[in-house]
Symmetry: D2
Subunit: 168 residues, 4 copies
Amino acid sequence: MRRIALISTGGTIEKTYDALRGVLENTVSVLDVMLGSLELRGVAIDRVRLMNKDSLEMSAEDHTRIAETVGNVSQARDGVVVVHGTDRLAVSGERCVELLGTPRVPVVFTGAMRPYELRSTDALQNLTEALLAVQLLAPGVYVAMHNTVLAFPGVTKDPALGTFVKRG
Amino acid sequence: MRRIALISTGGTIEKTYDALRGVLENTVSVLDVMLGSLELRGVAIDRVRLMNKDSLEMSAEDHTRIAETVGNVSQARDGVVVVHGTDRLAVSGERCVELLGTPRVPVVFTGAMRPYELRSTDALQNLTEALLAVQLLAPGVYVAMHNTVLAFPGVTKDPALGTFVKRG
Amino acid sequence: MRRIALISTGGTIEKTYDALRGVLENTVSVLDVMLGSLELRGVAIDRVRLMNKDSLEMSAEDHTRIAETVGNVSQARDGVVVVHGTDRLAVSGERCVELLGTPRVPVVFTGAMRPYELRSTDALQNLTEALLAVQLLAPGVYVAMHNTVLAFPGVTKDPALGTFVKRG
Amino acid sequence: MRRIALISTGGTIEKTYDALRGVLENTVSVLDVMLGSLELRGVAIDRVRLMNKDSLEMSAEDHTRIAETVGNVSQARDGVVVVHGTDRLAVSGERCVELLGTPRVPVVFTGAMRPYELRSTDALQNLTEALLAVQLLAPGVYVAMHNTVLAFPGVTKDPALGTFVKRG
């Protein structure tokens, strides 16, 4: 059985709705609910709750801390998945490459443009893709989202398309 | 076949998510999608798209316009349902009683604490209740929501409970 | 606070899917899951788990037992809702009228054409309607479904339409 | 842009509910609805509607026809996904290996234990996995389902687990 570490850092994918205040925000993690709705055979997932932030509010220290955590948990695992806000996901991905070079196992970032809490969401698709890609890819740092896998370095978010692309 | 007028004014129930900006807002009406997901037999629904506002942004003129529209459409219908933001729903309800007294047909306001776009929402429940209550009640002005029907005047939103109560 | 008895007898509305055998069947009750997804204020619901049958398999004794149970639980409640398979729902409704005449509180039958377990279902709509109608109607025996309330006796299922109509 | 052929053959994943007869059956394809709910960037999908059968009803000719179609469509594509009933999926997979050896592109079978039409289903997860795996794997014949990818020959369905395993 493969052991996968799943690091949660927040982002749109995990936002929930506060009905009394009428806003979407990062307060509780819905990753466990998402995982509970998937059929995951032959894999053991270790949850690492690192932070729960809109990535627009991440500092340089946050990105470094994410990369260091990736390096630490990768030692005893077969792969690492990181759930992250898309706005600064690429910053954390590049920081992983700077700090870790080629990690000893595949590291796959993912996120979503529409929260899991929405009736129509890309959250489950992207999480499904990350959890499969981490088993099929060679060691390296990647983003998996919208049926596309891209390798760092050189990945950026296209804000108009709402997805990731390779920098030209 | 009964003819029901369905007046939409906006509110949380109709908010949709802008994925690029990351906010819930009143831009398009999702009432037709909601209606399409219900089985409505023996009733003809006339949609009246009056406005699409967060009710916190409604002016005194807006409340009066809603009450006047209720009065107008009630002339040739068997009932009127009004979809409205909950924050100022009671203001429009009281305005209806001031302007119309007891209308010639039942008038039922409804709304939601959680948008229809959310996976977990009270929007369909409340719309279902309003569309049934308008067929069973005597002429008057009401709010139907959360399995409760209350008659105006004297109704207020309890912001802590997130529902409507009779003023003590 | 109003006290409502909710009698479950099975039917399509409660069918669940056995993935290994590939069939929809009445084995466990999903009514509590449905109730958990609704916002029910000001009402206390007492669950009465009477049977869990496809109504095509109900005997004359089953229909009588349902009517007798309705009579018993109506003594200490403000209303009774009965969840029932649609194929023989009208038999139980007529049996209630035969045994109870006009009961002391409203008795509302409901069911569904598509199980709650389906992505697209009329189960929540019909349950919502029954739980509201039982608070608004005069004492009597009714079916509430598809935005329509009909009073027994004289109600029948139209198998081609998949809904209930008054017998001509 | 990668070109993927998506061959549909039926199976539980595509079953829809006939409300009047109360049964789940293979009559219309819901694959297009599933595809419409996913965000698929950088891939062009060619739909090949081959048959719509419960795989328990497939004949030896059906399995051969599926394998031959896989061989044909793989000529001008970067990958092939086959949606198939799980009961006989392994028969079609083995037939592909017999007829095609190692095909020139990856061929990924998938299916579901619970139809897409159910509120709780593995259909979208499995389709998402197949559409990603076909882009990451080396040429060969595989099944992707429940977060696991297995290579033919030597794959079998474990009927008690409701998933696929390598034959020991």
